[in-house]
């Protein structure tokens, strides 16, 4: 039980912080609403209203988001490799080059197919 105490403290702290921030915002903040504030937060499309019979909505935002995630994952692997570069040696270098080349192929495809153009 003793070893779990820090986790419980952390949970209590984060819960307290969340309650405090929302409460403080609601109590002290000015309340001037406009259209932009009612939009879906950080999400490229308007989910409603949809045209009758189901319309289509642009997926450009998702494409960008997916590309960003691929970059993200790449970094997740690059950082530990950079830290452990000495112990992995030439094997690590070759494997990482192969990994990056594989990702590069995907980027080349997206680029050639016009996935990087917004309109």
């Amino acid at each position: 039980m003793h070893s779990y105490a820090p986790i419980l403290v952390l949970a209590a702290l984060s819960f307290g912080f969340a309650v405090f921030s929302i409460g403080a915002g609601a109590l002290t903040g000015p309340k001037r609403f406009n259209r932009a504030k009612l939009d879906a937060y950080e999400c490229g499309i308007e989910p409603t209203p949809q045209p009758v019979g189901g319309g289509r909505f642009p997926v450009k935002y998702y494409l960008t988001a997916m590309l960003f995630i691929v970059f993200d994952i790449e970094i997740v692997f690059l950082y530990p490799w950079a830290v452990a570069f000495d112990s992995l040696g030439i094997f690590g270098l070759v494997e990482m080059v192969l990994f990056i080349l594989t990702l590069l192929a995907a980027y080349a495809y997206v680029w050639r197919r016009g996935g990087l153009e917004w309109d």
Binding site: A84, S87, G89, A105, A108, Y109, R112, R113
Partner: protein, 519 residues
Amino acid sequence: MTAAVFDTPSIEYRQLLPILIVLGVALAGVLVEAFMGRRYRHETQLVLALGGLVAAFVAVVATAGDYAVVAEGSVAVDGPGLFLQGTILLLAIPGILTTAERSLDTGGPFAPSGSAMPGSQHERLLTATGVTQTEVFPLLMFAVGGMLLFPVSNDLLTMFVALEVLSLPLYLLCGLARRRRLLSQEASLKYFLLGSFSSAFFLYGVALLYGYAGTVRLSGIADAAGSNAGDETLLLTGTALVAVGLLFKVGAAPFHSWTPDVYQGAPTPITGFMAACTKVAAFGALLRVFYVALGGLAWEWQPILWGVAILTMVVGSVVALTQQDVKRMLAYSSIAHAGFVLVGLVATDSATKDGEILGVSSVLFYLLAYGFSTIGAFAVVTLVRDSAGEATHLSQWAGLAKRSPLTAAVFTFFLAAFAGIPLTSGFTAKFAVFRAAWTGGAWELVVIGVVMSAVAAFFYFRVVVLMFFSAPAPDGPTVVVPSPLTTAAIALGAGVTLLLGVWPTQVLDLAGRASQFVR
């Protein structure tokens, strides 16, 4: 905190070569899509895919006998694994050939642009310019790469990654039919939703088994189960959830409900590819999990798999009786065949003869035999067409023998193989699994299997009677003469079906020698 120490992992590239070749070819296919002119893409992709499959098959043959647990224990290259990899690669060849067929439908069996709305102006324009979809080739090769990894994965996480690598391209491919696009997209969505659901089951089972054994390695789980350490509830629940995920992929009842809809809606070459290759890969993984990791628990899971096998055979055979669509009928027949393969699977290690594990070797042989018959049968379905595309309603097949005796005869031959008539591979394969089950003491399963084969045979022969002894409708479909690609695929399917029926000894021996797992 001390700095983390990285040990250089040892990767045995030689044993992994077949997987690496196929994935490399898939990547090259992506680059072809990116940089090559549209005019040359189709031929380039076809040559690339076929070359990759043949090269990978050569690599599999060259590895034979060189069994080891490789890649830090996450991949087990052994007899059953290599046999199934070879089977998948051989089956993928007719799969690619039917996919590349362009003479039946202008521009091929796939929608020119998957994102164009069905029936829209954009789609009509693309159809009029005769654009061919060539992205299906890299997608298929990625799926094959995942299938090659699936039956050789030696830990549950590698198995999960392989499952996703093989599933994601298939979800997409199911939605790309050129004709009846809404049905195709519906199939794709259903397959995706139910497939992700079953993946979640699998992953949750993996988590529970990890909680039980402290490792995801199959041999580690076997050791933990053997020493009776830990909480047995975790072990049994985890086993059940992993089994649900895998039984979904093989299409066993009661997890079969996606099969008819997806098989009907997907483009027919993809349906044939799925019915053959996905089944082989998924049964490979099922065999490995139940024999390597959970072999010591046979008393626990055998009764459940008995029930699943019986239910699958009964549902597949009986519901097929009422089907009015050729593709749906073949889908239910594939469910019934999954049941027959499960009969071989439950025979377990107890049924051994001269060091050959009959349960494993009979399943290996069955998958090879059934794969070639089913891929050939679906290729024949692509030939019977009217103005709306493939004519899949059974009433449209009436009197087909009068229009094209050869096509009707070949389809009859495949149906005979499904029914298990002697001189076809279906007979040898059924005999092998029933013998394994009989030796393993599961004579009840054998009796039910034989009865269900008879029920299914009734339906297959109703189709034969329909083709040969009914009058053709005046405005019925025509049998289109395909290019050499589909002809080769059908000939390959029929040839192997005949060969394994008449002269199966060599392949049976090979399957027998390849029936030992490494841990």
